[in-house]
Subunit: 85 residues, 2 copies
């Protein structure tokens, strides 16, 4: 593990965790009418692609950060499917 | 170049380019009072770290996508420094 890979894991995970407060808010308010599904579908495709690419090139920072990202995005989409109206 | 590295470049660049409309809006309106500098400082640190990590592990998708990200974020910060009040 190099310093850069540790920093990339920390900053990347931090960015990825930004989806969790959004998911939490949906489940707390039981409402997701203001959520753009397209945004989260695009974020999902992006995160999953980075995870698979990370596995391909054996990059733990990419795998870790984007796994958090994928989970957060999936939680938002689940919330959306429950509370879209 | 594998299929996954091409997809990662496309989706990663797409996500990174999302900062350009924000920068454009600041320069068009000549106003950045609603912009959170902390958000863009964090995004800057994240993008730069991914670029450096990408150089370290010789990953072109990481370098390309996060270079776009860094440029977009820097444009937003420049706009902020001009038009914050």
């Amino acid at each position: 593990m190099t310093l850069l890979s540790i920093l990339a894991t920390i900053f990347g995970s931090g960015m990825a965790l930004s989806n969790f407060p959004q998911a939490l808010k949906i489940f707390k308010r039981k409402s997701a009418r203001d959520i753009s599904l397209l945004t989260y579908v695009l974020l999902f495709l992006g995160s999953v692609t980075w995870v698979l690419y990370g596995i391909e090139i054996k990059s733990y920072p990419l795998i870790i950060a984007n796994s958090f990202g994928t989970i957060g995005v999936v939680l938002v989409v689940i919330g959306w499917s429950f509370y879209r109206k």
